[in-house]
């Protein structure tokens, strides 16, 4: 494939950025839920 490296790079970079953001968002959401659950128990 001509310029195949550029095509692969475009798809891989997009996949990495979206996956990293999704993973980081899920982690932040889990932490916020844990805090909320802890606070509700303590309130």
């Amino acid at each position: 494939m001509d310029n195949g490296g550029f095509v692969v790079a475009g798809y891989v970079v997009t996949a990495i950025l979206v996956s990293l953001y999704t993973w980081q968002l899920a982690r932040r959401l889990r932490q916020a839920r844990d805090i909320a659950t802890g606070k509700q128990r303590g309130a």
Binding site: D2, F6, G10, V13, T14, L17, V18, R33, Q40
Partner: protein, 232 residues
């Protein structure tokens, strides 16, 4: 609804996420295998199947932030502020992927990774303004001031979107103007549209999750300030 349970927006986002996965799989097959290579650019044109959908997702996210910011300033309901935050953060993500994939496409096509072309420059300015939104919010401690100032920055940032869109018509630019579906192979149009839907659904899913996060974070902050106050 309890603070930790999913809201209606969260449940709609889950549906969007579930539909996005097969759409992405089909779109990738169509874009990488089924659609023919471009007559002039060859296979490098296939980057367009992630580059252009990134802009669709960006526009959708920033439009959400813009509308919700106006609604927040008019009605002062927290939900609008949560959605505005979600729109900006997800918009920044896809704005970044759009710029990077454009740069990767530009290297073999134009011979440069970056050039101070009106389209590229206005797009970079738009990204900087919305990154500024995230920074402003991070520095302000008062919840209401954070939402109010954020809304103003989001409205100001959105003004750059039509400038970005029309930049290829208003100024002499290296970036090509918008293509018409009638001038390209129908298979390319199908692949592009499936990927546009997939990216829009992915953006909707991510915004719904970011909305949930904003809702929880605000409820947690309010409990810290005033113990006993619950998310309402």
């Amino acid at each position: 609804m309890g603070t930790t349970g999913l809201s209606r927006i969260g449940r709609l986002g889950t549906v969007a996420g579930l539909v996005a996965v097969p759409c992405l799989a089909v779109g990738l097959y169509l874009g990488l295998v089924w659609a023919p290579p471009d007559a002039m650019m060859g296979n490098v044109q296939r980057i367009m199947y992630v580059h252009f959908p990134s802009w669709i997702a960006t526009a959708l996210a920033y439009l959400t932030a813009f509308v919700c910011s106006i609604l927040y300033l008019a009605r002062r309901r927290d939900g609008y502020d949560y959605l505005a935050q979600a729109g900006v953060e997800v918009g920044v993500l896809f704005n970044t992927t759009g710029l990077i994939t454009g740069s990767i496409w530009g290297r073999p096509t134009w011979g440069v990774w970056w050039t101070w072309d009106p389209r590229l420059t206005t797009t970079a300015i738009m990204l900087i303004i919305f990154v500024g939104y995230l920074l402003v919010r991070a520095f302000l401690e008062d919840l209401e001031a954070r939402a109010r100032v954020g809304a103003l920055v989001a409205i100001m940032g959105f003004v750059t979107l039509p400038v970005v869109y029309f930049s290829v018509r208003w100024w002499r630019t290296l970036h090509q103007p918008q293509s018409s579906p009638s001038t390209v192979d129908p298979r390319m149009v199908v692949a592009l549209r499936v990927m546009m839907i997939a990216f829009a659904l992915t953006a909707a899913y991510l915004m719904s999750r970011r909305y949930e996060l904003a809702r929880l974070q605000t409820a947690n902050e309010r409990l810290e300030v005033e113990p006993g106050v619950r998310d309402g």
